[in-house]
Each structure stands twice: as structure tokens, then as C-alpha cells.
């Protein structure tokens, strides 16, 4: 009996209980932090316990969504799964996931561990747990001051992968050259997913493109088409590096009020995927989860049924209702994701006038350097002033956000600076808009969500999409 392990688990469990009782935070990283302090080798104990394997999901955007989708699919298929569900994707969050799912003596009775791992700590986590499968979603610029340059992050992930042996399987976004290179350079077995580049989906994607040059030889990449950012159909005139032929490919993509659907072609068949969440980025996430589950021999219909009822995790497009107005809450953390969120705000033709709250913080978890706000295409908002009634800027860097909107061409009389979250939320809920959009960086999201959930009704299912517009 390992007393140190038991003590670490008990202390972690108490911390979980305490955070639940006080309602403070979500208790998703503190338990792991305390347990690691008591028993630094704790992951040695857990790593071999999942009976069928360990799957890691890494990349810049869509980790949490992909991870949750994959967990949902595996559970639907009858497997027991350990997962870190709340975006707690550092070492501490991984440890918390095991403590929560296991017994006091540290037994975890599960088939799979499905772990979302931050791309910067991926090499560190790999030092403790050897995955059987690694899913990589994409690489975009994110929080430069913490990670140095994007180049460095990708290289570190690659170096960590190279240390793994041949029986590891990679599930890669083949539309992202920075991800596809991992297969070429690591020599590991890889399955690619992608979206068939037939449709014009790439409006406004030009500025936050990360890979204009071949990651292998440095020549300028040619693109047939962009899906968004650097995702698309690329080829290198220098060394012949091209978008790999996908093992799973979506086509006939259709964005609807209620979500997104597409036809998907795999090596053994083709299916229709229907997601209750909007956005092409969510289709990518679903493709990643679907690819992984097919590779784990899950029945395709089971996987599709699970994806069809996927509910977004906190802050990633959550819906509320307040006085018959729809309120959408969304996490923003980098230019590509922010642009996707702005597209969602601009929405369909005839959408009602919106009040928008943007809350920007610059704590470590948000990224201390907020320069990336200037790489977001806010200019698209100024092109459609009729869709908005006001922009309220909040958080520690409210002034910077307001300034960015001004230089994007949004009239200053439409922009308010309100540093206090409570007042800012009140303003947008009770403003002239017929619907409300709230965008917040990581550490601003939870306080805003808390204030919001006290006043507005959380919409759990997706019936809000079927409401006809109030206008």
C-alpha cells in the first residue's frame, strides 16, 4: 500500500470537495497541484491503468471541444473513460482527472484516458505518460510571450513525438501544413482528416495566416484554396510537400441556423455528419474526434449519434436567454479563434441588432502580450454597423480593446469602456440590442459567466436556435 499516494489522492479529493462547496472556481487544477506536491511521481502510478489506451489531444484551437467529443463518442460506445473536461490541460489538470475518476487507493477502472494537453506542456506530459494515440488539431499563434514563437512550439511537439516508438498512431489535421509536417518528420503512422476544398469559405482569412512558407524547405507555399487561416489545399514548389490525401474527408458543408452538417467520406464508407454547433472550426473538431474513434474501432453510427447531440463546454459558444433575447458567450484566445467568433456574430442575413461585450484580460493564462488583438480582423465589424447597437469593452485591457475597435473604423460613440464586469454585463443585457454577444479571454470568461448565469437563463439544449429572430 502506497501511503503517499493515498495521502495525495485524499488531499486532492478534499480540494475538489472544498471548491464544490464554496462554489469558487471549478476545482480542475488545484487538486492536481496539491497532489503533485505531495507525490511528484503520481502519474507513474496512473499511466498504465487505462485498459485499452491513452489518447492525447493537443494543438492550439479546438482541443477542449475535440476531447469532449471523443470522450462522448467512447462513452456512447460503452467504454469507461477518464478525461480532463474543463480545459484544465496542464500537468495539474491531467493529474486532477485521474484523482477524480479513481478510488482512494488510486485504482482507476477505465478503458481509455482521453487527455487534452496544452501544446506547450505536451513534451513534459509525454515524459510521464506514453500515449497510444495523439490527435493534433492545428497550430495558430497563441500567447506569444509564454511560448516564444509558433515555430518553437511546433518543433518542441515534433521533438517529443520523435521520442515515441512506432506503435503510436497520429490523427492529424491534414489541411494544416504545420500539423501535417509532424507525420513527415516524425516517421510515425498517421491518419489525416480534412475538408474538401470546394467551397468559398475563406472570407477575411488573410491576415492571421501562420504558414506562408513550407515548414520543410522554406519555399513559399502555393494554395489552391484556403478554408480559413493557413488551413487549406497547399503544395510546396520547392520540395513537393503537399496536403496529404485525407483518410477522412468532409464535403458538401452546409452552415445552418441550428448547426453545421456535411458529407464525410472515409476509407470504408461515407456518412452524413450533423452537429448541433455552428462553425467550420467545429466541423474540424468533429472530424478529429470521428477519425480517432474510427481508428479505435467504434461503430460509425454510434460515433455520429454521439456527435449529433454534442453540447459545447463552458464558454465555447454557450447560450443564455434574458428577457427573450439570445445571449451567446464565447471564449477568445487568438486571432483565428477570434475571427471565427466575429463571423458567428455577423451571422446570417437579417440577424437582429446586437449588443457586444468584449472582455480582455492579460493574466498569464490569457497571455500577457495582447498585441494579437491587432491581428484580429475587427475591420469586418465596421463594414456592418447596422448589425450592432453598441460595443462594451471590459476587463484589465478594456482601453486597448476600445482603441482597437476605433482604429478598425468602429465609430467611437458605439464604443464604451466599462472595466467592471458586473456593470459591463448589465449594460449589454439591458441595452438597445435585440440579442447579445459576449467574447472573453480565459480569465475574464468565468467571472462574466458567473454574473451572467445569475441573471440569465442557461439554455441547455439548442431550442434557442429554433426561435425565430425577435426583430
Amino acid at each position: 500500500m502506497n501511503l503517499r499516494l493515498i495521502l495525495a489522492v485524499i488531499v486532492g479529493r478534499l480540494a475538489m470537495l472544498a471548491s464544490r462547496l464554496t462554489g469558487r472556481g471549478r476545482g480542475s487544477s488545484l487538486p492536481g497541484k496539491l497532489a503533485l506536491r505531495i507525490y511528484p511521481d503520481i502519474l507513474n502510478h496512473y499511466r498504465d491503468q487505462p485498459r485499452k489506451g491513452v489518447i492525447m489531444v493537443t494543438g492550439t484551437n479546438g482541443k477542449t471541444t475535440t476531447n469532449n467529443m471523443l470522450m462522448g463518442i467512447l462513452e456512447q460506445a460503452g467504454h469507461k473513460v477518464v478525461a480532463n473536461l474543463e480545459g484544465a490541460n496542464l500537468m495539474t489538470g491531467v493529474v486532477t482527472a485521474f484523482i477524480r475518476s479513481g478510488s482512494i487507493t488510486g485504482r482507476v477502472s477505465s478503458d481509455y484516458a482521453v487527455l487534452e494537453v496544452d501544446e506547450a506542456v505536451f513534451p513534459l506530459v509525454l515524459g510521464w505518460i506514453k500515449p497510444d494515440m495523439v490527435v493534433v488539431t492545428n497550430f495558430f499563434r497563441d500567447q506569444l510571450d509564454r511560448y516564444g514563437e509558433l515555430d518553437t512550439t511546433v518543433k518542441k511537439v515534433l521533438k517529443a513525438l520523435k521520442k515515441l516508438t512506432g506503435d503510436v498512431k497520429l490523427i492529424l489535421n491534414g489541411d494544416d501544413p504545420l500539423v501535417a509536417r509532424l507525420a513527415v518528420e516524425s516517421g510515425l503512422t498517421a491518419l489525416f482528416y480534412g475538408i474538401l476544398p470546394v467551397q468559398e469559405l475563406s472570407a477575411g482569412a488573410s491576415y492571421s495566416r501562420e504558414a506562408k512558407f513550407c515548414p520543410l524547405c522554406g519555399a513559399g507555399l502555393h494554395y489552391g484554396i484556403y478554408i480559413y487561416s493557413q488551413l487549406g489545399d497547399y503544395s510546396c514548389p520547392g520540395c513537393g510537400f503537399v496536403r496529404p490525401n485525407p483518410d477522412l474527408e468532409a464535403s458538401a458543408v452546409l452552415e445552418e441556423e441550428t448547426g453545421i452538417r456535411a458529407m464525410v467520406r472515409g476509407t470504408d464508407g461515407h456518412w452524413e455528419v450533423r452537429l448541433p454547433v455552428r462553425g467550420i472550426h467545429n466541423l474540424y473538431n468533429a472530424m478529429a474526434a470521428f477519425s480517432a474513434s474510427l481508428s479505435l474501432q467504434v461503430d460509425p453510427q454510434t460515433a455520429l449519434a454521439s456527435l449529433g447531440k454534442y453540447l459545447p463546454a463552458t464558454g465555447r459558444m454557450e447560450s443564455f436567454r434574458y428577457n427573450n433575447r439570445r445571449v451567446l458567450l464565447n471564449l477568445v484566445k487568438n486571432p483565428t479563434g477570434f475571427n471565427r467568433a466575429l463571423f458567428a456574430l455577423l451571422g446570417n442575413q437579417g440577424a437582429p441588432k446586437q449588443e457586444v461585450l468584449i472582455a480582455i484580460n492579460d493574466n498569464d493564462a490569457d497571455g500577457r502580450d495582447i498585441s494579437w488583438l491587432w491581428d484580429v480582423d475587427f475591420e469586418m465589424l465596421a463594414l456592418h454597423p447596422e448589425k450592432f447597437s453598441r460595443f462594451v469593452c471590459s476587463g484589465q485591457r478594456a482601453e486597448d480593446m476600445a482603441l482597437r475597435l476605433k482604429y478598425a473604423g468602429v465609430p467611437v460613440w458605439m464604443v464604451d469602456i466599462e472595466k467592471e464586469y458586473r456593470q459591463a454585463v448589465d449594460k449589454v443585457l439591458n441595452g438597445k440590442g435585440e440579442s447579445v454577444g459576449i467574447l472573453a479571454t480565459y480569465t475574464a470568461l468565468w467571472p462574466v459567466e458567473k454574473i451572467l448565469s445569475r441573471q440569465a437563463e442557461r439554455v441547455k439544449d439548442h431550442d434557442d436556435y429554433s426561435l425565430s429572430p425577435v426583430s
Partner: protein, 244 residues
């Protein structure tokens, strides 16, 4: 007259919201009714630097910076004569280092710069990463510039004039209290964030100098800088305390 802005290698050098500097410069021209157009120069493009009024050079990752250095070295004489003639230049971070004599790597090898200015840079063993406040004298008026720095190189001025004095942050080398460099109408700095939007006094000085070089010597119309001042002041207070 139309002010012509040249964004040098936007394909290569687009770190840290560099594009914000171009946006700030052009918007502040447009808001005053000064016509402005933006040209992008990429690798291998034919460029006559004296045709431009404002040249912007940003920073990139190591490899991209290497490509840029190679391309620019081929046309350094053209650039030098434009600079000596008073071309207005803003060079940030990697662009700043490139304007100097060399960048010395940890193993002692020197990557030659363009040598347009006397400063040189040595690799440091840590990165200087911080919000920064700099006190600078622009057009005879003391101004506080704010921004964010993130650089591994340590730059030594070697006799040329700094942009200003560091009140908070690392600056050129974390050691001598200077930040950035000035030479003729060339302004260099490690600050991004980006630099120009929150420091309108500097932006307006660059616009004024661009006009003067073409013989247009008039005072710029003042603008409503409420948001600019608030953003600048918020950072100054955060770093130096309320009393400032």
C-alpha cells in the same frame, strides 16, 4: 500630396500585431484628410526606397529574419541613400537589430546587419519579456511611450542616440536604461503591442516628418485622442503607480 507607406516583407515579418503600426499611421492620416496608400514589398520585389514616405520594418522568427536580411542586403545602397536623404523609417524588434552592424550568436558567429546605423546586438541567455514604459522627447515634448517587449538580443547603441529612457522594463539590453535608437528620420524600438496606436505623439511625429521631407511644413490638425490617452495612461499607472 499622397503619403506612400511601404510595409516591408509583411509576409515574413508579421509578429506581435505589427500590422497595428500600419493601421495607426494610415488612420491618423485619413482622419485628417491626408491621402495615404499602402504598398507591400515582398521578397524579390523591385523597390525604390526614395519613392516612399514611410517605411515600416517589423520582426519575425529567426529563419524569416535570415531571409529578409539576405534580400535587403542586396539593395542596401538604395536604402542607405534614401535614409541619408531623410526617409522616415520605423523599425521594430528584428527590424531594429537588422538596421545595425551585426547580431552576435551565442557561439560567437556574427550575422551581419545592414550597417545603416552603428548599434550592434548580442544574443542574451534569457528573453526580456515585459510591459514597458519609456520616457522620450519627441519634437521637444516629453512623452511616455508604452508597449510590450519580447526579445532575446541585447542591443548596444555604440554612440547613437536612444529613443528614450526606460522607466519600466528591460529596454535595449536590460542594463544601460536606454530603449530604442534614433538616427536621422529612422526610429527603432523593441516595443510592440503594437507601438503606434497607443503612442499617438510618436505616430504624429512620423507623419509630420514624412510631410516635411516632401516640403509640406504644416502643423497637423489635432484629433480626439481620448481612447489613446486612456490606453496609454492605464498602462503607465499599472506599471508606475497611480501618482504618475
Amino acid at each position: 500630396m499622397t503619403i506612400t507607406v511601404c510595409h516591408l516583407y509583411p509576409d515574413l515579418l508579421n509578429l506581435y500585431g505589427d500590422r497595428g503600426n500600419i493601421i495607426a499611421f494610415t488612420q491618423r492620416c485619413r482622419w485628417r484628410g491626408i491621402p495615404v496608400r499602402i504598398m507591400e514589398a515582398n521578397l524579390g520585389d523591385q523597390v525604390q526606397f526614395e519613392d516612399y514616405d514611410f517605411l515600416f520594418i517589423g520582426g519575425g522568427s529567426d529563419r524569416e529574419q535570415g531571409l529578409m536580411a539576405e534580400d535587403l542586403t542586396a539593395r542596401v545602397n538604395n536604402l542607405r541613400s534614401a535614409v541619408e536623404d531623410g526617409l522616415v523609417v520605423l523599425a521594430i524588434c528584428g527590424g531594429y537589430q537588422l538596421m545595425g552592424k551585426y547580431y552576435r550568436m551565442p557561439d560567437g558567429t556574427e550575422i551581419p546587419g545592414l550597417g545603416l546605423m552603428e548599434h550592434y546586438t548580442e544574443a542574451g541567455d534569457t528573453r526580456l519579456i515585459s510591459n514597458v514604459v519609456v520616457e522620450a522627447e519627441l519634437g521637444g515634448i516629453k512623452t511616455r511611450l508604452v508597449g510590450f517587449e519580447n526579445h532575446g538580443g541585447r542591443t548596444f547603441l555604440n554612440g547613437i542616440q536612444p529613443l528614450g529612457k526606460v522607466l519600466h522594463g528591460g529596454g535595449n539590453n536590460g542594463f544601460d536604461g536606454t530603449e530604442g535608437a534614433r538616427y536621422r528620420n529612422v526610429f527603432c524600438s523593441y516595443l510592440h503591442g503594437p507601438l503606434l496606436p497607443k503612442n499617438p505623439a510618436l505616430t504624429d511625429l512620423l507623419i509630420t516628418l514624412s510631410l516635411q521631407r516632401r516640403g509640406q511644413d504644416h502643423r497637423l490638425e489635432p484629433l480626439d485622442d481620448n481612447f489613446e490617452k486612456r490606453a496609454n495612461q492605464a498602462m503607465v499607472e499599472k506599471l508606475l503607480g497611480k501618482k504618475s
